[in-house]
Amino acid sequence: MDAIRADHLKKIFGPVTAVNDVSITVREGEIFGFLGPNGAGKTTTIRLLTGVLTPDAGTVTINGIDIHRHPLEAKMQMGVIPESSTVYGDMTAEQNLQLSGKMYGMPRALREERIHELLSKMGLAEKRRIPVRAFSKGMKQRVSIACAIIHRPKVLFLDEPTSGLDVQSRRLVIETIRDMNGQGSTIFLTTHNIEEANTLCHTVCIINKGKIVAQESPERLKKMFDTTQSVEVSFDRPVTQDLFKGGGIIRAEPCGDKWRLYTDNPDLVLKYLVGRAERESIGITSLTTSGPSLEEAFVQITECA
């Protein structure tokens, strides 16, 4: 069964069609990345999928439960982390989690146990009795995430969970997402961090101006849009452009203390470089090849649409 299924969703705000005929299927156990430029309709789509907003047209089912007809049962299945970390500032971290546990109808003993576990996992155990108002952005976000996963939801929605966080907080968030996924939860997340989507998601979906423009695995998406690959090389002494004439190199760009060489055939380039270096007695100090970037694919897709 599909964990999330949306059919022909539409949402209009006055003159703006924020979401225009969007259909999405997310398989159970998948990490689904939802990408798009600012104002593309990501947040609106999440609000429609989680029953916060009512669509002007279209249907949503969560684990087969229609969210419009059975909103409470459908919402029991899911955890939601909205765009801005929305926790009660006047309550402590612990009280926020208590409230969340009660909302999901967790019995007291289970609630206490889970709160204890989550507070220490999120590094908040010592600050459990401080009002959340005094927390930093990253700490608030951790409380927000803990509130959403307290009942071990089958489907987890995250709207830009890592934006504005420092490296440690971001790692913690990513780790938590992987963890939840490892325990069988389906994850739906939006992000502006393409590298993050690339390493984390099984499927990436790109929305632009309210319409879905691509939906593929990150690797396939990259291949679809750019066949050019690159080789990065550095030498033990300065070299000129002349060195890179031939050997299947399309273009060479100096790039810090390295050169970036674009090619359709990295194999040929490597052999050529090694041969030339040996003949001219130049030492190669580093050599890496990289595939097409998802970022490049993203820019191409959203620009041409």
Binding site: F13, G14, G51, V80
Partner: protein, 249 residues
Amino acid sequence: MMEVPLFLRGIIVITGKNMRLYYTKPPVLMFGLLFPLFMFFAFFVGRHLDLVTFFPAFLAMMLFFTASSVAPLITPWEKREKTYERLLSYPVTQDSIIMGDVLAGAIFGIGISFLVWIASLAFVPVSITNLGLFFLAFILGTLSCAALGTLLASPASDSPPNVMILSNLIRFPLIFISGVFIPLQQMEGLGLALAYCSPLTYMVDLFNAAMTGISVFSPLVDCCVLAGVSFVFILAGRLIQKRNMMKGM
């Protein structure tokens, strides 16, 4: 249906959250507690009026202020803090949120007014001729005022001060046109016609019926009017809030 227990649970949890978070907020203390006391001193004490005769009106006014001051704060406050969105993503609906707001206002109103009534027993020799009717007056009065509070909370605004100002612009006239300060028997013409428009008039009348046995309308009429306006206020508030949600958060 599986959803009914979930729905009821949502209302209870939301009511508890509202009680814990909003009873101690300054606007609630200001407009819910201090104002009725000021009004009491300004209008009753200084004028050497017979406290016993005016006590039912005072109690109704107290109930009106307390019960209707909580709900107008909650929704704009939560929209501003963005907790409204999270709240809606929990297993609740807009209806559970509205009912939770009504209940939190009603419990505040009943609690404070009850305390005032108990405390006043020491100073004013208030009597009650019909205890059943007295409690009915408490419940229906508080329900209609809390329902009015929810209606006052429905403008699409995330600014608590603006909503509080608007709600006071509506609440004060409702008091002045009602039979709180002038007994209905002494009103005539336009004043009387206006008094009929304020739900507070029927509350005062019902408290009079319960405490002194003398009322202008029959208690049944008072009860029906109060139940009716509660229903209409909640329905109207619900309609407006749903329409706002269709337009966006």
